[in-house]
Amino acid sequence: MKPHKDHKYIEALIQNDSRLLSELYQKFTPKIIAFVKKNSGDETQANDLIQDVLVTIFHQATEKQFVLTCPFDAYFFLLCKRKWFNVLKKKSNKEVTIEDDFLSISEKQAEEAIVETERYELQSTLYEEKFKELGVKCQELLKLSFVVKSMEKVAEKLNISYGYARKKKSQCMSKLTQLIKSSTSFETIKNY
């Protein structure tokens, strides 16, 4: 699909382009801050929300080569809005519903992209949570294998044999996949 001209903001996140990111903040965040403030939040919470959403988009863009095919404004605003409602929901334990009738046309166009990003976020959060449930040794070895890539070097750094390092990695990844597969959100993500 052809990228929307606003895809430049996604590129800016990937490139860490502070000039364009400043523009993004000036153009798009006042509306979000106003929205959070109107819905029992404050500016700090709004800023944290904005930052988290941007970091999610950044991960999705670098990992999944996400291409924006709709206006950034609607996409970003609705993502923040829905995430904020989720925060409130968790806090109050009450059901908070978003009235879809109020979606503007441009927001409807953005819906597909929003669903994709939300699904991505659920997924990576689940992976990370389950990773943290692994034992310290497993976490250490896996982390190293993700950063260093070559298992020879991982073995060297941990002062263990190459064969043992590989065996350990398989064991740890096996444990991790089991943890992920047996979690309830795994099914939710599948059907998202």
């Binding site: 000036q26 930052q51 992976y127 993700f146 590989r166």
Partner: protein, 241 residues
């Protein structure tokens, strides 16, 4: 997923399988749905965690935090209902008229209209001086208060470094220590280096502008020679005072 399966995935991803075995693997991906979905899940977990642990996220968060700090004081747009729109439009035009007329009578230029600096750059390529790097960073991020102790330190070794002196003076003006800044400007103005002399004259006049000493500002501006880089700006400022 059991360990054997993961060993197999790893071997395939690391391209360690023999040609025949790799072909078998790919065939299985086509025909065995569970195998395929397991492989995809495995890759997805691995890819996701790789991105979680690289340093880029931290860099991005740093940038975003900086931008947030800068923009947090900007006012948010108010949302008006349509019914009030006419009233507000009338009120706004009145405010605008009043503001304009006040502005005409009170249109002294301000320090911020003119104070623009080139980025401070001290570190030469290959030079790994963390103190200088920090100083550059703070200055260019406009965290002027933090630059002052660093200027002190560096000037202790090179008390006659014109560049350090000039930028220190700018930081002093920004942090409202104009008196100390004037001492440095005067030192540069009587110095031999023409470039720093003209810089010092220009920024000294801006410092006067900041403290609203318009007469002293005019007097200093008039000393800026016509071949200075600032002569056009200086004339502009002089005529608006």
């Amino acid at each position: 997923m059991n360990e054997q399966l993961i060993e197999l995935f790893e071997s395939y991803l690391q391209q360690e399988l023999a040609l025949e075995a790799a072909k078998d693997f790919e065939n299985r991906l086509q025909t065995d749905v569970t195998f395929k979905s397991d492989f995809e899940l495995y890759k997805s977990i691995q890819d996701s965690l790789i991105y979680r642990f690289n340093a880029q996220e931290k860099n991005l968060r740093d940038t975003l935090r900086k931008i947030q700090a800068k923009t947090s004081n900007t006012k948010e747009p108010k949302v008006f209902s349509l019914n009030n729109f006419r009233k507000i439009a009338v009120a706004a035009s009145v405010v605008l008229l009043v503001a304009l007329s006040v502005y005409r009578f009170n249109s002294k230029p301000s320090f911020n209209d003119f104070a623009q600096y080139d980025d401070l750059s001290l570190v030469v390529r290959g030079d790994d001086d963390t103190q200088k790097k920090m100083l550059e960073k703070y200055f260019n991020d406009k965290q002027f208060a933090k630059t002052l102790p660093l200027f002190e330190d560096l000037l202790r070794d090179n008390p006659n470094d014109n560049k350090l002196l000039l930028y220190k003076a700018l930081a002093l003006v920004e942090t409202n220590n104009t008196d100390s800044a004037f001492l440095i400007f005067d030192k540069l103005i009587v110095g031999k280096n023409k470039l720093y002399k003209s810089n010092a004259l220009w920024y000294k006049s801006l410092a006067y502008l900041k403290v609203k000493n318009y007469d002293a500002c005019k007097e200093t501006l008039s000393k800026i020679s016509s071949d200075s880089d600032y002569s056009v700006e200086a004339k502009k400022l002089l005529s608006s005072l």
